[in-house]
């Protein structure tokens, strides 16, 4: 595998993990605008652990994810008392606080950035990505997925049906933040260097855009969104700025024409019904 191809595949795999991290709370109707902050927590915690102990890298990355999930839990419990836009704003604030705090943390290099000694290649990262995709797919195949969809579609009715709406929202938010942390850990250990500036609001915005572009109604949405937006820029020629301009224009256009994203739940059900129907027909 050439370095160029491996580099793109690694970014794709990490973007998929981050996209699922943003997808989980969105599928419960909550917007996380601090994805970059949670990715930074995971990246820095896992890098610190693998730099300063004999811990195997995958274990360090998982612990980085756990750290991000715990921080998310601590913020979500007070903030989710209020509704809608307040959580988005609180996650945005948290993301900025994390970035600013890292800039002042000399133990992880401060503004100079933090070198990471251990190195993981594409197969390990792909293993993590596969695990995350399977985990989220499994979650959505269980009662959890139905409950989350119910919470998203109508909180009040879900509450009346006996679902603990807040618990589901907090769970989706914390698990999603944990996935962001894992994404950050993977990034840190492949590129061997992390800096606070990378984990700014733009990263959070891009991740959210991947997911909404792909669609929030089906588990396939974030996968598709991440694939399109990681590979599309590589196919386009021209300067990085023109790529961003085009990226933004495509998102605006798609949102205006098809605000539900590329894939919807109904499409998937039709597709599955079609396959099932064909099987039932006598040969």
């Amino acid at each position: 595998m050439s370095g160029y191809v491996e580099g793109i595949l690694v970014l794709l795999a990490i973007n998929i993990v981050l996209a699922y991290g943003a997808f989980l709370p969105m599928s419960a109707g909550q917007l996380n605008l601090g994805m970059a902050g949670f990715a930074a927590i995971g990246g820095y915690v896992s890098a610190y652990l693998s730099n300063n102990s004999a811990m195997p890298v995958p274990v360090a990355i998982v612990l980085g994810g756990v750290a991000a999930a715990l921080v998310a839990l601590a913020v979500a419990i007070p903030v989710l008392r209020t509704r809608g836009i307040y959580l988005a704003l609180a996650t945005f604030a948290l993301g900025e606080i994390v970035r600013a705090a890292i800039l002042n943390l000399e133990v992880v290099g401060g503004a100079a950035g933090y070198p990471v000694a251990a190195f993981i290649r594409f197969p390990t990262i792909a293993g993590f990505t596969l695990g995350v995709v399977m985990l989220v797919s499994l979650l959505f195949a269980t009662r959890f997925g139905i409950a989350i969809t119910a919470v998203h579609d109508d909180e009040r009715v879900a509450d009346l049906m006996g679902l603990n709406v807040r618990a589901f929202q907090i769970a989706a938010f914390a698990v999603g933040s944990g996935l962001a942390g894992i994404g950050g850990g993977l990034y840190a250990h492949h590129f061997n260097y992390i800096e606070a500036q990378y984990f700014g609001i733009s990263l959070s915005i891009y991740i959210v855009l991947y997911v909404l572009f792909g669609g929030t109604q089906s588990v396939l949405g974030p996968l598709l969104g991440a694939i399109v937006f990681t590979l599309l820029p590589e196919l386009l020629r021209g300067s990085a700025q023109w790529r961003y301009v085009l990226f933004a224009a495509i998102v605006i256009g798609v949102m205006a024409v098809r605000p539900q994203g590329l894939v919807t739940g109904a499409q998937i059900r039709r597709l599955l019904a079609g396959i099932a129907g064909r099987k039932e027909q006598p040969a």
């Binding site: 600013a100 915005i205 023109w242 933004a248 224009a249 205006a256």
Partner: protein
């Protein structure tokens, strides 16, 4: 003896910083009022506003740089921002079917990326400097140095926000906006022409954001395509701290954030500014999400 002198000097430096903080705060207030109008009337967190702020600053710089006079350059910058804001309205509001609550928010984020990168394509990403507007721009007031553009900025932004509050409280347009803020469907039933009034919300908030950018360019004489991110995001904090949907809250929040910045520089050092500002934002969201002047649940208040 030496100690007491240094204490006096310290106090002079600190009061100078307070003045600077108020001036910076008035710029945040302009961004905050743009955001608060949008969220108060339409319940829409419009992320393109930091982009419109940048357009105000960059277009003024570009035209002044080309030799245009300041008033003409500023006028042109406001017109460009107004047009851009109306384009945002078309794609985030008028042509949008609302399946997800946060779809307009996401489109407005894409507009921020679009505006920033178009500016980089057109002007490059370097920091650009502007010439002094006046020959001598500093007034001395005891120990304090107050620059004329700063004072102009503070007075102008408070006057403009006060004027907007009056419009919201007293005029037919203000009544229409407050009706939409209560309930858009009911407003339509009561004969409010939503399709004429909503573009006005975008127009006014776009012009306020761009004026904030112009004031920034006048005061700090530096512009850059990503200037909206740092300033605009602080504007979000100012809006929340003051109380979402409250125009006077935007001023209060802007000044509080400006002061919080200079005080944390004085007490903790420059590296802690963002931690204090966003920490304050998070604290307000947890303890009093309605902000210091607002009441929870949106709506425009004057």
């Amino acid at each position: 003896m030496a100690d007491s002198i240094s204490a006096i000097e310290r106090r002079a430096i600190f009061s100078q910083q307070l003045v600077n903080g108020l001036m910076l705060g008035s710029i945040y207030a302009m961004v905050a009022v743009a955001l608060t109008l949008s969220i108060g009337v339409l319940k829409f967190l419009n992320f393109s506003i930091p982009g419109l702020f940048m357009i105000g600053g960059m277009v003024s710089w570009s035209l002044v740089h080309k030799g245009l006079s300041w008033p003409l350059a500023v006028g042109a910058a406001l017109i460009v921002a107004a047009i851009a804001s109306i384009i945002v309205e078309l794609f985030t509001w008028r042509w949008m079917r609302r399946v997800e609550e946060f779809v307009p928010l996401v489109s407005s984020m894409a507009f921020l990326i679009l505006f920033e990168n178009l500016a980089v394509v057109y002007w490059g990403s370097e920091l650009q400097s502007l010439p002094h507007l006046f020959a001598s721009t500093d007034w001395r007031l005891g120990n304090l140095v107050i620059s004329v553009p700063q004072l102009f900025g503070l007075v102008a932004s408070i006057a403009l926000i006060a004027a907007l509050s009056l419009v919201l409280a007293r005029t037919r347009l203000g009544r229409a906006l407050r009706t939409i803020a209560e309930d858009a469907d009911t407003a339509l039933l009561l004969g409010v022409d939503i399709h004429r009034v909503v573009p006005l919300v975008f127009l006014i908030s776009g012009v306020f954001a761009a004026l904030g950018g112009v004031l920034f360019a006048l005061n700090y004489r530096q512009v850059q395509p990503f200037m909206g991110e740092a300033l605009g995001l602080k504007g979000i904090s100012a809006m929340v701290v003051g109380g979402m949907g409250n125009t006077w809250g935007a001023i209060a929040g802007g000044l509080i954030i400006g002061l919080a910045e200079v005080i944390s520089i004085d007490l903790l050092g420059a590296d802690f500014v963002d931690i204090s500002v966003y920490g304050l934002l998070l604290l307000v969201l947890i303890v009093r999400p309605s902000g210091i002047l607002g009441a929870a649940g949106g709506g425009v208040r004057t």
